[in-house]
Amino acid sequence: MDNTSLSHFVQVTINGLSMGCVYALVAVGYGMVYGILNMINFAHGEIYMFGAYIAYSALVCKMGLFSSILLSLFFCGVLGVTVERLAYKPLREASRIAPALTAMAVALLIRSAVMIIWGSSPIMFPQVINNKPIILNNNIRFYPLQFSIIFVTIVIWVFSLWLFKYTKIGKAIRAVSQDRNTAWLMGIDADKIVSIVYLYGSILAAIAGFLIANYYILLFPLMGFLGTIRAWTAAVLGGIGKLSGAVIGGLLIGLVESFAMTYISTAYKDVIIFIVLIIILLVMPRGLLKGRGQKV
């Protein structure tokens, strides 16, 4: 490999990793919801999209960067918990297909609401973070935003691992996701734990939404659906229900996407991602980290 193609390779890897981190953040929340309720949450990506739009409006109204992020986290958290309480909770005892269909309806509802409020055509996200690339030798461009994305993801990953392993809430979440009724009978308020999981997942989605909006500087209503598909793929690839699985799956998809776009074709990137998914599931049916022994 000569020097230019090597630096090109490094560049593609950096781009892929930062995209992958965003997918990982969405996938972690998605995977947690799946883990605790065995529910395919088709509305998860919509919350990520909604968060990006809220941040957009806040920034357009000249709110500060930090308060815009907080506002977006707040709205997404409220939306996530409200949806769970109103739409999913009454279906706890129903068959698995009912909440999944409801989630699709919720996704349509949120997407339509966003289209009514902000319009259906793409809008430009105000560039607030100074994103002047640092040019390393060999002409590798490293954007500060990519660094922030990777940094935020690592912090959240470590925090989540700690939360799951060592805190009371984490233990309660693990107990409820293994057997809700038993956990309940042991004095854990299962409904509260489920809401906390939704809250946490929604907040992670909002963070991811904010980062992606800054990265692409573009918002469009369908980005939520694309987010759901990416999160689903990442979570399944890594092993559904596994926290680190979702992160690894997200990173892998980001890398595959980045390499496919550069070396093969932009048009076929999704096809290539799914081919990778199929191959991995054929060899390791429960994903890279051996998630739950269930059909996905």
């Binding site: 060592y166 805190t167 809430i169 693990r174 107990a175 009978l185 004095g187």
Partner: protein
């Protein structure tokens, strides 16, 4: 029931019925459990024993009737609240968190003790909270030693033997200082040695200010353990009394062996 008037009942079940559609799983059941006694609940398969446990612990809501625990009405109380008030239980088909360790499983039961912690305590792990957690850990380890499980505390439950799992479940039920423990066939399927070990522990426990209600199939086995027996058949209570009386009760014999068995 009349002879127990001297001690105050810890649990009072009054005219409880549970219907699933047209099926009367429990039909007008009433009884009281006096404090610090071991009571056995027996009856043929499908007589409603486990359903009764589920109604007491709140997993099912009674169709009719009322349940009082420590003089408080718990008939419509939330499941987790009932557990926190001090009713622990085990299950016929063991329900443990298979992907967690023995220690973690038992600690779930002990966390009931922590009730006054705030969200901030939990998330930021304050010194005060760490102290509480330390106490819980200490208590859990004590119970694990009591049940001879200490050496296996870091083992994942899914790799334990059947008898060990039964003991872990028992540990989880008692660790939270529950005043009433419901045991659903605690020794079923165990080898003789394990059975005797657990029997001893149940006896020991009942001396420590704990009331026990247990489901068991074999009358003979129950007789040496329990001070009184309640017999269910097809959702109805058909007898209640001391083991000797129950063994000779014609209704009970009929329920177990069929008509004309005498």
């Amino acid at each position: 029931m009349q002879d127990n008037k001297k001690t105050t009942p810890i649990l009072k079940v009054k005219n409880v019925s549970k219907y699933f559609g047209g099926i009367h799983a429990l039909d007008n059941i009433s009884f009281e459990l006096s404090t610090n006694k071991i009571t056995a609940l027996i009856g043929p398969n499908g007589s409603g024993k486990t359903t009764l446990f589920n109604v007491i612990t709140g997993l099912y809501k009674a169709t009719k009737g009322s349940i009082h625990f420590k003089k408080r009405d718990i008939t419509k109380e939330r499941i987790d609240k009932i557990a926190k008030m001090g009713i622990g239980r085990t299950f016929q088909n063991i329900k443990l968190f298979a992907n967690s360790t023995v220690l973690e499983n038992v600690m779930v039961g002990a966390y009931q003790l922590l009730d006054n912690e705030t969200f901030i305590d939990v998330v930021f792990n304050t010194a005060e909270y760490r102290q509480l957690e330390k106490e819980i850990l200490h208590k859990t380890e004590e119970i694990l030693r009591f049940l001879d499980l200490y050496k296996k505390k870091e083992t994942l439950v899914k790799s334990l033997s059947y008898g060990d799992r039964k003991r872990v479940e028992f540990a989880r039920a008692i660790v939270g200082d529950s005043k009433l423990i419901l045991l659903d066939e605690p020794v079923a399927g165990m080898v003789e040695e394990e059975k005797l070990f657990l029997l001893d522990k149940i006896k020991e426990l009942s001396k420590k200010n704990v009331t026990i209600l247990l489901i068991e199939h074999q009358i003979r086995f129950v007789s040496e353990l329990a001070s009184s027996i309640i017999v269910l058949d097809e959702g109805k209570k058909i007898a209640e009394g001391k083991p000797v009386e129950i063994q000779e009760n014609p209704l009970v014999i009929e329920a177990y062996l069929g008509k004309g068995a005498r």
